[in-house]
């Protein structure tokens, strides 16, 4: 069985489970909606202040939702004793990592798309022109987030206080990614061309490569025992 096929089976399995239960997606969607309210209340009615903090709030929304969604990546395996099955599966375990990563990316992209639309509606943004650039920034940032998140989710699923440890480990590592994405999003929302934030995009690209490679290389060690 090829690596790609094994990864694909993991994604397919997760998608099927999700399609039947819909629990993760529905809860995340509702959570994202609630975040919108919370942000509005926290920042206050002043339109200008809101406009200034918008890129940051958007990514806060992605991260908070992502923390909830990614943290659960391997919990479903633990609950159904599939963890042992994954461990004992023959061949390259990193195929499982890639599969889980792909599934997580899919989930995050859907949630992010919804959040962007909701933000556009509630905060009255004109997204039409900036959408392609926004998609690039969001894509690059999310890959970095999901790459580390999937790896850490596997690690913390084995630990007692996993809901606490997962964000505690993930957030500091994501700090540079967050700095980059917020700055880039800020520029994009102001209508500036992607070229003006090329350095941030290169940083995000580097982060993506580094984190995915490290994830692929070290996942075997996480899945052991």
């Amino acid at each position: 069985m090829t690596f790609a096929r094994r990864a694909f089976i993991v994604v397919w399995k997760d998608l099927l489970v999700e399609r039947r239960s819909k629990e993760t997606f529905n809860a995340l969607f509702f959570f994202a909606l609630l975040l919108l309210f919370v942000f509005q209340f926290a920042v206050g009615p002043d339109r200008e202040r809101l406009a200034g903090t918008l890129p940051g709030l958007l990514w806060l929304g992605f991260i908070l939702t992502g923390l909830l969604g990614l943290g659960r990546t391997f919990v479903v395996e633990r609950e159904n004793d599939c963890w042992e099955a994954l461990r004992l599966a023959p061949g390259d375990k990193s195929a499982i990592y890639v599969g889980k990563l792909a599934g997580n990316l899919l989930l995050m992209f859907v949630v992010e798309a919804i959040l962007v639309v909701l933000f556009g509606i509630f905060f009255n943004l004109d997204l039409a022109g900036v959408l392609p650039a926004l998609v690039v920034v969001i894509g690059l940032g999310t890959v970095a987030f999901a790459a580390v998140g999937t790896l850490f989710a596997a690690m913390t699923s084995q630990v007692r206080a996993r809901e606490l440890l997962f964000p505690v480990l993930l957030l500091p590592v994501q700090a540079p990614v967050l700095l980059a994405t917020v700055k880039a999003t800020e520029a994009v929302l102001l209508g500036e061309p992607l070229g003006s934030v090329a350095h941030w995009l290169k940083l995000l690209g580097a982060a993506d490569v580094i984190f995915v490679v490290v994830g692929v290389l070290t996942f075997d060690f996480v899945l052991e025992g």
Partner: protein, 215 residues
């Protein structure tokens, strides 16, 4: 052996203090408060050294499963966190009279703070896993991820602070400073490095003894 290192360390630290207060001149713009640099900058250096050792030891552990490498990673991370905290504290104390504020999101303080919480998380992870083999493996993976994140932290924070922002008051780096100040800094670098070696050696011994006692 460790005792000898300890003794030499003590002498080096004393020499460092002499250099910092006796030999180094009073700085022109900041006054004597600039002498904090002789404890702040070597602390940062030791922190980075410690985390580099964590990276190497983590890779060695995953590749070869040598328990000694795991203990070295653990000890080095602990000492690294210690010196990172010290860097932040001394940096903050230095900042109050010179910048007028206890805290500022300048490039170095921000980067070092991110490092601090990353490796604090490393220690937290170790503390929360009971199975020693699993703890060693997971910590090694985290140690590798954290180390590769360091350059990303550097660039992102530096760009975050300097682009489209007026440059904050940068502390003088070794390149632009007179020879006496550089010399004093170097002596303290050596002293702090020796202190790092001493602490890590003792900590590794302790870990080995505790592992043997539990076996």
């Amino acid at each position: 052996m460790v005792r000898i290192v300890g003794g030499v360390t003590l002498v080096a630290l004393a020499a460092g203090l002499v250099m910092a207060f006796g030999v180094a001149p009073r700085e022109v713009t900041q006054g004597n408060v600039q002498r904090i640099m002789y404890v702040h900058v070597p602390s940062v250096w030791v922190a980075y050294l410690a985390f580099a050792v964590v990276l190497v030891a983590s890779i060695v552990y995953l590749a070869r499963r040598v328990d000694g490498a795991d203990r070295l990673a653990h000890a080095s991370a602990e000492v690294g966190v210690l010196f990172t905290g010290l860097t932040i504290a001394t940096g903050s104390i230095w900042g109050k009279p010179t910048w007028g504020t206890w805290w500022t999101w300048d490039a170095r303080l921000t980067s070092v703070s991110i490092l601090f919480v990353m490796y604090l998380g490393y220690l937290l992870l170790r503390g929360m896993i009971e199975d020693p083999d699993q703890g060693a493996r997971y910590a090694a993976v985290l140690g590798i991820v954290a180390a590769f994140n360091i350059p990303l932290v550097h660039f992102s924070v530096y760009w975050w602070r300097t682009l489209h922002q007026p440059p904050s008051l940068m502390k003088p780096g070794p390149g632009t400073m007179p020879g006496v100040i550089v010399a004093a800094l170097m002596v303290n670098f050596v002293a702090f490095s020796l202190l790092y070696v001493y602490f890590v050696a003792k900590r590794v011994n302790l870990l080995r003894r505790e592992a043997e006692a539990a076996a």
